[in-house]
């Protein structure tokens, strides 16, 4: 009986077929958006945290850039932001990243049954990973964009009030605006890093145990 079983070959279609399974990015994005929408209150808090951290970072970066546009004889070697202040930036970013990690991890554990269902219907672990990476990176994108913009505006306003609008030239403004892009970059990278642990949790979920799981 055992020997007979050995001779049965595995369907050749199954082997190597996994390259053909598809899950469009749009579908993953849809799931990610819905994940955020369902937990809007909490996600808004996380978004706020990221925005504030990025606004702080953005403001310091912008101030730095704007100071460079003041003629050196005016600043007389005065620095915009001391090294000490960058430590605060690091702390803010760390807190926002851990907030993101926590939010995505909760999103995963709350949706274990849904993940199990998707796996039953033919989703591969990579598809599940996509959903939660998108969810995290979307938060990072929005937080970076809004936070960077806020920081930039705040820094510009404070520059005008504390120094002078004379040095706030178009070139300086444009240079400062690049900070928003930098903020988005930092924020999305952090979000991506923060999603690693939750995503590993989601990928490892076995459909059979997910089905037994009660929230």
């Amino acid at each position: 009986m055992k020997n007979q079983a050995e001779t049965r070959l595995v369907d050749p279609l199954v082997h190597g077929a996994y390259t053909s399974s598809q899950f469009p990015v749009s579908a993953a994005l849809l799931f990610a958006l819905q994940g955020i929408r369902l937990r809007l209150g909490r996600m808004a808090l996380v978004f706020l945290g990221i925005s504030l951290a990025m606004a702080f970072t953005g403001a310091l970066l912008t101030t730095d850039v704007l100071y460079r546009h003041i003629p050196p004889e005016v600043t007389a070697g005065q620095q915009s932001a001391g090294a000490f202040r960058w430590m605060w930036v690091a702390v803010a970013l760390l807190i926002s990243a851990s907030g993101t990690l926590n939010a995505i991890l909760m999103s995963v554990t709350e949706r274990i049954k849904e993940i199990g269902t998707l796996k039953c219907l033919g989703a591969k672990s990579i598809h599940i990973v996509e959903i939660f990476v998108f969810e995290s990176v979307l938060l990072g994108l929005l937080g970076g964009l809004v936070g960077g913009l806020l920081g930039y505006l705040f820094a510009a306003a404070s520059f005008v009030m504390n120094i002078s609008s004379r040095y706030l030239t178009a070139a300086a403004m444009l240079d400062g605006a690049q900070v928003i892009l930098i903020c988005v970059g930092i924020s999305m990278t952090l979000a991506l890093l923060a999603s690693v642990i939750p995503v590993l949790v989601a990928a490892k979920i076995e459909p059979a145990s997910a089905m037994r799981y009660e929230v």
């Binding site: 595995v10 998707l118 989703a123 591969k124």
Partner: protein
């Protein structure tokens, strides 16, 4: 030796052509500390194509574990499980996903629809994973919803549907990729008597119309009456297998002498 080998395999081909599922000595052990829980302890069974089989047994007898093992949701500790000629104990995670997508349909006690998707989107989901084009999968999903009598509810979300209607959507979803077998785990467990009966009738109708094999875990005596065979599971092993005729006699005798029959059974 070589001729024997080919003869054996051709024999198997014949066997496999008729069988949707073959389980050979399937074991599933869970280790909790030093204790070993034998959820499945050497199950052998074969399910023919187009058959409607019910799995019966007391709670904790291993029905759900059997469902999980046959459905490729978990790997058996030992033994082999063939779904439509494929030995699932030899597949890796991605290959299992492929198999689950195209060869197996699932119906759960708790329906397990995706809450934020409409009935139509829920039914299209397995077809997305199978890589079917949008227009085609929507057409097919709509046809399936019509078959289960929910054509008018295609754009409703699960929360806007009753329990019975949700289970109908789940049934439509399980048939989406024309699977080799549909597995149902207590499909009427969360439904009232009348709705449960409707769901059973629908499953029988789908079984007859689409010639899809159905394996159904149940406590529900109504389902027993409808199935071609009943496999009784006890302590992770096959206790006995009954055909439809035997059962109908038994159900009849159950009405006459309930006490004695129940005593025999336990």
């Amino acid at each position: 030796m070589a001729s024997q080998f080919t003869m054996q395999s051709s024999e198997n081909d014949g066997l496999l052509d008729e069988q949707a599922v073959i389980v050979e000595g399937a074991k599933k052990y869970y280790y909790m500390g030093s204790e070993c829980v034998k959820a499945l302890d050497g199950i052998d069974l074969q399910i023919e194509k187009g058959e409607y089989v019910s799995i019966m047994g007391p709670s904790g007898s291993g029905k759900t574990t059997l469902f999980n093992v046959v459905g490729g949701l978990t790997q058996p500790t030992d033994g082999q499980v063939f779904i439509d000629k494929t030995d699932i104990s030899k597949l890796d995670a991605n290959e299992l996903a492929w198999l689950r997508c195209r060869k197996i349909g699932y119906i759960f006690q708790t329906f397990n629809l995706i809450p934020i998707m409409t009935a139509l989107q829920n039914v299209t989901l397995p077809m997305i994973f199978a890589g079917i084009a949008k227009a085609e999968r929507e057409d097919r999903a709509y046809e399936l919803l019509k078959m289960v009598g929910l054509g008018a509810r295609a754009n409703h979300k699960p929360t806007e549907l009753s329990g019975g209607q949700q289970q109908r959507v789940a049934i439509a979803r399980s048939f989406a990729n024309d699977p080799a077998i549909v597995l149902a785990d207590e499909p009427t467990g969360n439904l009232d008597l009348k709705t449960g009966l409707e769901i059973i009738n629908l499953m029988i109708e789908m079984n007859k119309q689409k010639h899809v094999t159905i394996m159904c875990n149940t406590h529900d005596l109504k389902i027993i009456n409808a199935s071609d065979r009943i496999i009784w599971i006890r302590d992770g092993q096959v206790d006995r297998i009954e055909t439809k005729d035997q059962v109908q006699i038994e159900v009849g005798s159950l009405k006459d002498s309930t006490g004695r029959d129940a005593a025999e059974r336990h």
